[in-house]
Amino acid sequence: MRHAMATKIEAAESVREYLAGQEQKSLLRFLTCGSVDDGKSTLIGRLLSDTKQIFEDQLAALERDSRKHGTTGEDVDFALLVDGLEAEREQGITIDVAYRFFATPKRKFIVADTPGHEQYTRNMATGASTADLAIVLVDARQGVLRQTRRHSIIASLLGIRNIVVAINKIDLVGFDQGVFDRITAEYASFAESLGFRSIVPIPMSARFGDNVTRRSDKMGWYSGPTLIEHLETVVVEEEATDRPFRFPVQYVNRPNLDFRGFAGTIASGSISQGDEIVVAKSGKPSTVKRIVAHGGDLRSAVAGQAITLVLEDEVEVSRGNLLVSPDARPDVADQFAANVVWFDEQALLPGRSYILRTETDQASATVTELKYRINVNDFAHEAAKSLEMNEVGVCNISTQSPIAFDSFAENRTTGAFILIDRISNATVGAGMILHPLRRSENIHWQSLDVTRHARADLKNQRPAVLWFTGLSGSGKSTVANMLEKKLHAAGRHTYILDGDNVRHGLNRDLGFTDEDRVENIRRVAEVAKLMADAGLIVIVSFISPFRAERRMARELMGQGEFVEVFVDTPFEECAKRDPKGLYARALAGAIKNFTGVDSPYETPENPEIHLQTLGKTPEEMVETVEHWLNERDLAEHQYDDGGGI
């Protein structure tokens, strides 16, 4: 009896020791990918079987299934172990990614078995997004195929840096070194530009187990590692705790008035009690007061941990914001360039509105420009108007409100997003951010104490941007000039931004191509926004021919601040007036890209003020604008007086 008890205690200790050993093992997440029928599922079945992960009852079921659906004659069909869906077993193909788990004495593994069919590329991307290494299978008889390339480029875009090229079914080419060398060279040359850190080719037969876990005795010419030896020893990037601190706020925990914790998972870096942080979007600084955890506060925490932070100050933070280290901040922008992989049958269309989702943030987004599509065969950049299902491209994306992010190359967590269809709620695309646009890198919002309201109040006026648009010679400058004089006389604080004047200074580097016109307007809109922030009534007098840019300007300004004034004079009248002699020269072909002549003017659809100039004096038009402004301020006052009580 005593003896039995002692044995039990010993056994318990050895179990604890064993488990402690298990905890020290590192984890490798990898996927198998490549073309249809290259033997991905068979390889995983072989790995599971040879590492003793298959239980007797599962093996019995497998033998039963093999007789029913198997494709390997009398032998057990290992693919049936992973092809877990009925449709997959019936059709003998893999439709969706399967996750399997196994361990060797050296390491733990999570493997994603992904489908080879092009139509299921989205499921391959799903498996690749959480993997650190990809096994790209190549059928020795077929060599590198289109899907081999597509999967390699997707793996590369998704940040996978380690590749195993499994040259499979080598038994079917007589274990020929020539075939192996040729495929190895072919893969190496096309993958050159994909930025992989390691590419390890291994000749194998998944079906018979050669060079999977057991060294083959039929390929004396191969001296490299078996697959499992390589998987057990390959070095993949550890979550670097010395990178800048990034904490996407996922959930605000507020059980009572005395506790306000920000819950989330540390994306990179580390944090300790007393560390200074900054709220990415507002620039507000604070200090970490507590790192709350069930079972006692932590002194510090590292990337990968799901924690709850309590800050010293009452700063405004909600889900979607990032808490970051003050000296290495992320970008905060509403426009950026990104690689996009498209999943949906309905093509990606520039201009269409999608829901963009990062790990915790969400915003309406449009693709403002599809810069190019990447040809998966030769990686050529091709012009495209849309991105079809399973295609990859580079886009400029604009979000309705700014998001905080890093480039995907710097941070796989804070640099990634998905796109969701507004109507079906389907996940239609995945994106990897390259860089912010508008050169806003390294510029962060400084939090300012004097607010725009305070500035406007001091001037006793409500800021506005009066945006005069119309053809050259329509009378914009005349009306604008007269309006400013009257407002000034009435004690208003104003400023005129005139197209010609700004082109002499700020925009002297810009010409009249469509791209330059867009940039011209963008700069002026930004300047007008700053002036409105300062409390001014800004009068902008620009041809501004494109609706998209006027809309962009409108969206920059605060609610109700943007007033579009359409100075509507027919082309013939402008050409007749021709105060600067420009129409004559343009019509003679001496000036290129002249609005109304060989460059379009897109008339406003819903301007706040529509000035039809024919038969009216400038004074009458100024009165119309003044009247409109007074009405607005009056409405504002009524609202103010009634709303507060």
Binding site: A11, A12, S14, V15, R16, L19, Q22, E23, K25, L27, F55, D57, Q58, D65, V82, D83, G84, L85, E86, I95, D96, V97, A98, Y99, R100, F101, K108, N123, A125, T126, S129, T241, Q250, Y251, N253, R254, P255, A263, G264, S270, V292, A293, H294, G304, Q305, A306, F343, R357, E359, T360, R412, T413, A416, F417, I418, I420, N425, A426, T427, A430
Partner: protein, 301 residues
Amino acid sequence: MLARLTHLDRLEAEAIHIFREVAATFTKPVMLYSVGKDSSVLLHLAMKAFYPAKPPFPFLHVDTTWKFREMIEFRDAMARELGFDLLVHVNPDGVRDNINPFDHGSNTHTHVMKTVGLRQALDKYGFDAAFGGARRDEEKSRAKERIFSFRNAQHAWDPKNQRPEMWKIFNTRVAQGESIRVFPLSNWTELDIWQYILQENIPIVPLYFAKHRPVVERDGMLILRDDDRMKLRPGEVVENKLVRFRTLGCYPLTGAIESDADSLEGIVSEMLTARTSERQGRLIDRDEAGSMEKKKREGYF
């Protein structure tokens, strides 16, 4: 020097992240609490995820009236001790028709009392997200399922058309009537579960530990005769054997194994040398080929 995270640390963080994501993005989540070891781990993680607050959702147990008595006692004790909001639902139609595993077979019983019962409860309360304790290593159709697994308004799973699931960015958007089943333990293995129970000292139903219990051998399984609703067939005898359970469900459908493992260490040690998978003790998975997938498509967890 900061400590490296262990394998269990990572699994724990991933599960907590998933819990919080649901709480932040759904209007009416619920946790399916089945009282087994995986549910116990799930409950423990939920308590951790929202500390110092309580989990901001209720716990639902779909009772079939055929659960082990010790499971029900354990369930009520946990709810009292941790103070969570426990909802219990039994399919009233099944009770009216006296649906039971003996007369109707495991298939009909499970469908009416579990699958339909669950659908009734989800509709009754209008839950838009439901946590479950399923793991991908349990069964091969589970190995195919997303962590956030979409269900249409009829609670059905469409395995051929799952939403892509990239990184940790979860698409949590659903239309009226649709819902998401959420599996925080997707990437855990059975060993991870036991190891975590050991590490965190998580209470589990005593049926997991070996003890002398009155069992009947029937259809190649050892069935614990938990009450006298189970009639003995001719030739059957109740024997007192040293047994325990690897999984828990309805007692007439759950086979015991002969074992002397009366501690967590003993269980782990036994598991490491086991040559059969844990679902083997479950009659319902063997009824027909692909039976788990079929049940899941119909709305089973």
